[in-house]
């Protein structure tokens, strides 16, 4: 479903990220993202120990949890909302395991999510969740990294659903000064694997996309980009939905022009 939507977009994709429950009217940011040209939105379900996140998203997780945010409250906030773009949940595996993969995926689906990312769940441990997500109609996107060896990349390409999340650099989420050179190579390898398996699942490039230029550059090879910390940073610094949306819009333009 995400895959179909993405293909229908007919442009390089832009998936902004926000930590669910980060501020009082956090859903307004999602609307602004759509306004700015988002093709999908990644909503983080905050976890106490975000081991793959850098300082910005750690801070956002802590802030959201300090406000009393829970998986349930994020889902409730989104209830009945139709933003017109697919929502992709992202969280750590402990929160999935807490409810059990089946219940967790069913709850996501009921709240209107289309996809799921679990960064600390590598392919080898993902079997149970792949099954549960499939059963619930949730597309579980897998991550691939620049150090993933070829045969494994093929498996990831094959078993990922919705899209493949290309972790372009060796590091955690967060703002960076430049986009890693290895990322284009990873994306090329992934696309080759996907082509071999006969699917054309999009490859989204994430981690470290900070400026419009990064976004434009990264989306040359990839089918699109995921932008997280650069937006969250602005929210944490007090920028409202309009301002953050405005920034996202500059990325949208850069991607559209640069691509």
């Amino acid at each position: 479903m995400i895959e179909a939507r993405f293909r229908a977009a007919g442009r390089k994709l832009l998936m902004p990220y926000l930590t669910g429950g980060l501020t009082d009217g956090w859903v307004e940011y999602l609307r602004a993202f759509v306004e700015a040209g988002a093709d999908a939105i990644e909503v983080g379900l905050p976890f106490s120990d975000p081991t793959l996140d850098g300082p910005t998203i750690q801070e956002a997780s802590d802030a959201a949890l300090a406000r009393g945010t829970t998986v349930r409250s994020v889902l409730a906030d989104l209830n009945g909302l139709d933003l017109g773009v697919p929502l992709v949940a992202s969280t750590y595996y402990n929160l999935v395991a807490h409810d059990g993969p089946e219940r967790f995926c069913a709850a996501l689906r009921d709240a209107g999510f289309a996809g799921l990312i679990v960064p600390d769940l590598p392919l080898d441990e993902a079997g149970e969740l792949i099954t549960a997500a499939g059963a619930a109609g949730i597309e579980l996107a897998l991550l691939a990294s620049v150090v993933t060896p070829a045969p494994r990349l093929a498996l990831i390409a094959e078993r990922s659903r919705g899209f493949v999340y290309a972790v372009s650099l060796m590091g955690t989420t967060g703002e960076r000064h430049e986009v890693d050179a290895a990322s284009a190579a990873l994306v090329e390898r992934l696309k080759a694997e996907l082509a071999k398996s006969g699917t054309a699942r999009p490859v989204l490039h994430g981690f470290g996309i900070t400026t419009p230029e990064h976004a434009a550059r990264a989306s040359r090879a990839a089918d699109g980009v995921i932008v997280g910390a650069a937006l969250v940073r602005r929210v944490l610094d007090g920028a409202g939905p309009e301002e953050v949306g405005g920034y996202l819009a500059t990325m949208r333009r850069a991607i559209d022009q640069g691509a």
């Binding site: 976890f47 120990d49 960064p119 392919l123 691939a144 590091g171």
Partner: protein, 400 residues
């Protein structure tokens, strides 16, 4: 041959062995790491398997442990405390190991492995600072660099260890997130590792983390249990103690000790901090790359552990302990901070040994269990004294 196998209770067959390529201890263990770390973990697993099968590697490690660390550590009969408690208490003296705790056994193993893998830097997390000091020590000894992540709160309460690491030439990185203790230091070390897998080796400090760490660290620590088993055989009329007791943070000193006795009739007791009892009070969960038993709230958020002993201030427990608990092969009990302080002082004043507050947890349980009759009079008890209390002296003095 077959008779020996028959003597072992059925449930123990295959306990504390190689957990297989997926690193599973029953329902626990595994490797829940982000994709960028999968290859790094694979590489460590392969290197360890190869090294551990190599007699030359084992010889080098045994040599370092003997020449540099002072192994074997003695088994000290706690005469006066035994008399007071009406039991026969034997202390396995890891407090006498170089750097002051059992952590060095594991670290030297991993540091040798890192050298073998061509890595030039060690990364480590530390709570009480003992693992950090051990890592800084091994790095100095083998000519490697060391970067140690430590919660800011732990840096305050274990300041001398911060100094020790720095004198040894290690970089100590304060971790300001979350509870600012071991849990967050571990998260930060893993985050850092992602970016430097090519040059740096992540030297995990307990039987936690993604496969192969829980298995590998237990193997490097089994020297405690193997030595103690031989020493008990010489010391005790029955050859085997009735009880084997160790404190459990992540659980490495306990795992190393239990490994020597899991095939005997000894009862295995892991003692946790009441405020950090991953095994005794946790629920199944996933953190820091492994599935095990963790303290968490109703929403599945990991809760902060609270212990007077920085090294036990961890909300989870190594996966093999969760498995031993599930099997009923080991029992996990808890003691309160106040009992721990009392036990530390009591051991100091009866045996002339100031234990680390971590180790004092094991002592506290023995004292309580002897008083309550849970430990029957005359019972023989092997207790692993995982470290010395120098680092905790100011904490103890404040509370005296």
């Amino acid at each position: 041959m077959s008779s020996i196998t028959e003597v072992l209770p059925r449930t123990r067959a295959g306990v504390m062995v190689d957990p297989g390529p997926r690193g599973r201890f029953g329902d626990h263990g595994g490797r829940y790491v982000p994709e960028p770390l999968v290859a790094a973990c694979d590489e460590v697993a392969a290197a360890f398997a190869e090294a551990w099968a190599d007699a030359g590697f084992r010889r080098s490690l045994a040599n370092l442990l003997a020449l540099h660390v002072g192994r074997p550590t003695p088994l000290t009969p706690a005469w006066r405390l035994s008399a007071e408690l009406g039991i026969d208490l034997l202390l396995k003296r890891e407090d006498l190991a170089h750097t002051g705790s059992h952590k060095i056994n594991n670290v030297l193993g991993q540091a040798l492995l890192a050298t073998r893998m061509g890595r030039t830097r060690l990364i480590a997390e530390t709570g009480a600072g003992m693992h950090g000091v051990a890592t800084a020590t091994a790095a100095a000894l083998l000519g490697l660099e060391a970067t140690v992540f430590m919660g800011e709160r732990d840096m305050e309460r274990q300041a001398p260890n911060v100094f020790r690491m720095r004198v040894l030439g290690a970089e100590v990185v304060p971790v300001r997130s979350g509870s600012r203790t071991l849990k967050d230091a571990t998260s930060q070390a893993m985050r850092h590792w992602v970016g430097v897998v090519d040059e740096a080796y992540y030297c995990v400090g307990s039987v936690i983390g993604p496969h192969p760490y829980p298995y590998m660290v237990r193997e490097f620590q089994r020297v405690i249990g193997d030595e103690a088993r031989g020493q008990c055989a010489a010391e005790l009329p029955t050859g085997v103690p009735d009880y084997v007791v160790a404190c459990v943070g992540g659980g490495s000193n306990a795992a190393g000790t239990f490994a020597g006795f899991v095939g005997t009739p000894a009862r295995l007791i892991g003692v946790e901090a009441a405020g950090g009892a991953g095994a005794a009070s946790g629920r199944a969960g996933v953190l820091h790359g492994f599935r095990s038993s963790f303290l968490q709230d109703g929403d599945g958020q990991i809760t902060e552990a609270h212990s007077i002993a920085a090294g036990l201030d961890y909300p989870g427990v190594g996966p093999e302990h969760a498995h031993l608990r599930d099997l009923g092969r080991a029992r996990y009990v808890t003691v309160e901070d106040s009992e721990v302080v009392e036990a530390a002082v009591r051991l100091a004043r009866t045996e002339g040994i100031v234990p680390a507050l971590e180790s004092a947890h094991a002592v506290a349980w023995v004292i309580r269990a002897a008083a309550s009759g849970e430990l029957p009079p005359g019972a023989s008890v092997l207790l692993t004294l995982s470290g010395r209390g120098d680092k905790d002296i100011s904490t103890l003095m404040e509370l005296l």
